[in-house]
């Protein structure tokens, strides 16, 4: 079996299909809109992607699964999704932290600082 990766959001959506299959795409759109506030185009994009990954098939507007839920989760654990923001956020966005760029030694130093603070 090829290794299929799915992020948390995709798997939440896949769960909806598994729970309700066979299900019309129009129904999926309605559910996604209600639960996630997704636009119609977004839902269709995700359906298409999951089909391309080999999990589901879209037959004339009805979606059914090729791999069942149990089968899928027994195959692998969740992993990171490709295609994420590669860390170059626009300057005007307030972000949590900019990852990367620390050497192992620096990390060690900082770890020491953290550990050194004492209980009051």
């Amino acid at each position: 079996m090829p290794d299929i990766q799915m992020g948390l959001v995709e798997s939440q959506f896949a769960d909806i299909i598994w729970a309700n299959e066979p299900i019309k795409t129009s129904e999926l759109v309605k559910i996604a809109e209600a639960d996630f506030t997704w636009k119609r185009t977004t839902t269709h994009t995700v359906i298409k992607r999951l089909c391309e990954k080999g999990l589901f098939v879209n037959n004339k507007g009805t979606v059914t699964s090729i791999i069942s839920r149990d089968e899928f989760y027994s195959m692998q654990s969740r992993q990171f999704v490709e295609n994420s923001f590669k860390g170059s956020l626009p300057a005007f966005i307030a972000a949590f932290t900019k990852a990367g760029g620390i050497s192992a030694k620096e990390a060690e130093d900082i770890r020491k600082i953290i550990d050194s603070i004492e209980e009051e």
Binding site: G7, N83, A91
Partner: protein, 444 residues
């Protein structure tokens, strides 16, 4: 279209002047920041720095009024111009004074090609920065389509997000990566919520707009960069304010993990505004002096810098210098503004003398000769200096536009109608350094 062009030029001049005037403030804040961070770290709250940068932003944006004309308003100037040029086209235009003023000035502005070039470059720069902002925003929005709600109403999770960020100025939403651990989730959400409470999304956005406008000034870039750093530090401080020591440790470890741990391997090139993790951890674990004392000291610093910003004694001098510099570009043909040759005191003293000869003249506009009144080459001023054998520093000419007539030795105004006549008053500076009226004339 012509009015629009003039508007751009006017805005650009103001922007450049503001930029120049702000340089000393930005440098001072940078030095102050260094001193605070080096020597008074535990005595000063982290929220001080973003406030100081806010003052810098104000100074960069609020138009400073310098080189003011003695007299009334520019609509009066406009009327003067119309009368003086005797242009039938403008005479027939109604009382839309502002429009007339702009139109009149265009013919003058068109000859200042050097000025136009700067304005074009500046405008292109501003537009480019705004386009980058817009494109970045659209790109971001598209990527976060596939997000699902969480227990927090303003936090959503998304597979495609690698680091949490906030989108939106009026309705900020936090986007979290979907693969955070439960332990991390709450701490990170608290950090982002601290950002929202502090309105950091608005601060960064407004700061970016200011950067767009002042893009040509490298110090403004430095200021923005430091602002971003200081915002993160202030936010960390706020987020951990109520944590006990073990919670602070957890938070700091999360910060570290996200910079150096497994997540770091997945990150791309460093983005603009790299926030040093060591500094942030130090802020989080810092043991501050008594809270009350810290807040008082911090507030005092802000008030002090605010006062210095407003009451800066060099503002007037700097304004004069800035205007002279702008004047260099504005008057390639060599007519200097009287406000460049004389100080405000001298202009006031001379005007006082001039209006003494004219009943009720105080209420009308008297304008010292400048490029609008004297023409591109200040012919009248040069002529008068030649006739009276005086240096340009010892001779002043004022114009006004109201109808007048001589009654018992003083000029009396007929304020009922605008004049076809103009008053021209010439003053000379005598040996006692006083201004004497040597000539009053009317001409049509």
């Amino acid at each position: 279209m012509e009015s629009f062009k003039y508007l751009i030029i006017w805005i650009a001049t103001k922007v450049v002047n503001n930029s120049l005037l702000s340089i000393s403030l930005i440098l001072s804040v940078i030095v102050l920041r260094f001193i605070i961070n080096r020597f008074f770290k535990d005595k000063v709250a982290r929220w001080v720095m973003p406030v100081l940068w806010g003052l810098v932003g104000l100074k960069l944006m609020i138009p400073v009024d310098f080189g003011r004309c003695i007299g009334v308003t520019s609509s009066e100037e406009a009327l003067f111009l119309i009368r003086k040029e005797n242009n039938p086209l403008f005479m027939s235009i109604g009382t839309e004074q502002l429009h007339n003023f702009f139109s009149q000035s265009i013919s003058k502005i068109n000859s200042y090609s050097l000025v136009t070039m700067f304005e074009v470059v500046w405008s292109v720069g501003v537009v480019a920065m705004l386009i980058y902002c817009f494109v970045g925003y659209v790109w971001l929005k598209r990527g976060i389509n596939e997000a699902v709600p969480t227990v927090w109403s303003n936090v959503r999770m998304c597979d495609k997000v690698k680091q949490p960020f906030i989108v939106g100025v009026f309705n900020p939403i936090v986007y979290m990566p979907s693969d955070v651990t439960d332990r991390e989730f709450n701490y990170i959400v608290e950090h982002e919520h601290a950002h929202i409470e502090r309105r950091d999304n608005i601060r960064k956005f407004v700061g970016y707009i200011i950067l767009c406008i002042h893009w040509f000034n490298p110090l403004v870039w430095v200021a923005y960069f430091l602002l971003c750093k200081d915002i993160e530090l202030a936010c960390d401080e706020r987020a951990v304010a109520h944590y006990d020591v073990s919670e602070k440790k957890t938070y700091a470890n999360i910060l570290l993990d996200w910079s150096a741990g497994t997540r770091a391997a997945l990150a791309g090139p460093l983005a603009f505004g790299e926030i040093g993790v060591k500094e942030r951890v130090k802020v989080v674990v810092a043991n501050k002096d008594s809270k009350r004392k810290t807040q008082i000291v911090s507030a005092m610093i802000c008030v002090f810098v605010a006062l210095c910003t407003i009451l800066h004694p060099d503002n007037a001098k700097a304004a004069l210098w800035a205007q002279r510099t702008a004047g260099f570009f504005n008057h390639p043909t060599g007519c200097k503004e009287e406000s460049e040759i004389f100080t405000q005191d001298e202009l006031d003293a001379a005007l006082k003398e001039a209006v003494a000869y004219c009943k009720d003249c105080r209420s009308i506009g008297f304008y010292p000769v400048n490029v609008f009144y004297g023409g591109d080459d200040c012919f009248e001023k040069k002529e008068c200096c030649r006739i009276y054998g005086a240096d340009e520093k010892d001779l002043m000419i004022f114009y006004s536009t109201y109808y007048n007539s001589w009654v018992g030795g003083t000029l009396v105004l007929d304020q009922g109608k605008y004049s076809q006549y103009e008053i021209e008053i010439i003053l000379l500076r005598n040996e006692k350094n006083e201004w004497e009226v040597v000539s009053i004339s009317e001409f049509g």
